[in-house]
Symmetry: C2
Subunit: 319 residues, 2 copies
């Protein structure tokens, strides 16, 4: 038998950090009936926390067409030690700085029973270097959500060198029960999968602007009205499989592989120097057409809900 509690029996969850990611995780966990303790040292952030959680839960309601009658309790704590009392699972979502994470990992290592799994939401750090400070290293892993975690299905799971492999399987089951789509990496890498794909995309997007090929708004419009429309249905590999026509990827690589390599070598290597940064900052300002960040976020979340709903219908149709 596994030394970890059965995923379906997890009832009490600790979220460390009440920022954008932590509050959204808390909203999700509570919506799925878990009791959540969330620790946040900054009083200003604590003051807006419940409001932000409620807003995220509104989106979850709309997405899933449910009334969330059996929401779990949410308790906001000042200290980490208060928040981990009698917890079954920890989702660490503190600021993404190694000094901060180091202190938290050390604290959990000392004060939390070693069979309690600890997931880190880190998007730009690795677990291996942080495990050096922990005697209970095996229960620390990456459970990286995609923003906003309340809505986005993706959770990227990976372990450091000392992470228990069984725990990664456990994590996949756990997140699946919360309606998430877990993707397990064979080894950890900075940026995981989605962050690296996004960085690759933006790199060329910046290059096209810096070379004067098109402005920020046009580059974004090309994505949104072109490849972006398929990206919710089909990943990059399957996309190129279809680009090979009836012969699929085999045909594509043998007939167009060389020209694709040439295309790759022609992609840009921009720098975010003063000139390019100004082009991007001003271009985004124009493209945003005076919509404040808050409105853009709302528009994005509404669009994501609609796209996710359209996929729910497709999946039902398929069955």
């Amino acid at each position: 038998m596994s030394k970890y509690q059965e995923p379906k029996n997890i009832k009490n969850i600790t979220v460390i950090g009440g920022g954008i990611i932590g509050s959204s995780w808390a909203a999700l966990f509570s919506a799925y009936g878990k009791d959540v303790k969330i620790s946040e040292p900054c009083s200003e952030t604590r003051n807006t926390l419940l409001e932000r959680i409620k807003k995220a839960q509104k989106s979850i309601k709309i997405l899933n067409n449910v009334n969330l009658k059996n929401k779990g309790k949410i308790i906001i704590c000042k200290s980490l030690n208060e928040a981990i009392h009698k917890t079954d699972f920890v989702q660490e979502s503190a600021p993404d700085k190694s000094e901060i994470k180091k202190h938290i990992f050390k604290d959990l290592d000392l004060n939390l029973h070693r069979n309690i799994p600890v997931a880190s939401s880190t998007s730009s750090l690795l677990i291996t270097p942080l495990q050096k400070y922990c005697k209970t290293a095996e229960r620390f892993f990456t459970g990286h959500p995609y923003n906003p975690p309340s809505l986005m299905p993706l959770v990227e799971i990976s372990g450091g060198e000392k992470t228990d492999e069984l725990l990664l399987e456990w994590a996949s089951s756990f997140y699946s029960l919360l309606g998430k789509y877990p993707v397990k990496l064979n080894k950890e890498i900075i940026g995981h999968i989605a962050g690296r794909l996004s960085a690759a995309l933006w790199q060329e997007a910046v290059h096209l602007v810096s070379e004067g090929i098109a402005d920020v708004e046009s580059v974004d419009a090309a994505m949104v009205n072109g490849p972006g429309l398929r990206s919710a249905a089909m990943g990059p590999h399957l996309t190129y499989h279809l680009a090979g026509g009836q012969g699929g990827m085999q045909y594509y690589i043998s007939h167009l592989g060389k020209s694709q390599e040439k295309r790759w070598s022609s992609l840009g290597k921009p720098k975010l120097d003063q000139t390019t940064s100004n082009m991007i900052i001003n271009g985004v300002k124009e493209a945003a057409k005076n919509r404040p960040i808050k409105n853009l976020e709302e528009e994005r979340d509404l669009a994501i809900i609609k796209i996710l709903k359209s996929k729910q219908v497709s999946n039902k149709t398929k069955k």
Copy 2:
């Protein structure tokens, strides 16, 4: 007054090439009431052409919720000269090889009145080198659709060195009248915008597989359940604008610009050598789970229709 016919008065359209792109363009033009002559030298391709056009028109019907009662006539021709008789506009969609395009451009240069605009669907060639063979160079430009053109809104418009700038404006109006979303490039570049963004994305996707970070199916799943869900609503630049929180792009670049540059420099430069090619080909085979290309294409088109429909609703709600 412009020497080109008013976009709304264009009635007769020639499509050169009856392949995947040409047949889909023909379906669109005819659905919008234009009479279409389509030239295709290969009898085998001609034999399946009408069937493919009808299938594409079925999707257009579903997407727009209309009955297409006023479809334009479609005439299939063996020769180019037959197809350009009394035409108002040419959409060249022949195989993407410079030798083939050169011959077609020369032919059109000699035999088609110089005020008739010629758009090329080329995805990997430039107009400038082809203009060298033409006395009427100014009326040739790129009007690159995104596959399938019958459904996808994007048309990328760019000119060669000798292209009439006014013609590019004309083209924007023309494609807009067909429900397309034209994006004009300031200067032409191989792969235009969307093809280059897709190449950048796939390059890192191949890298992650070749390094053993994750398999083909997992990489695709990370996209589809993560960043891919926002890509139909928000391009790469606006996405990073939101990643900067309330401070937007300005905050993002000043606080995270350096780490993003570091991320960029860590992105992979894979080669499609035998080992990597096999990993990708076999991985795609597994991910496709025995679904033939035809089924995958149908699934993709259905998903695109659903996503486009969800966007139609969003746009209506906004008004």
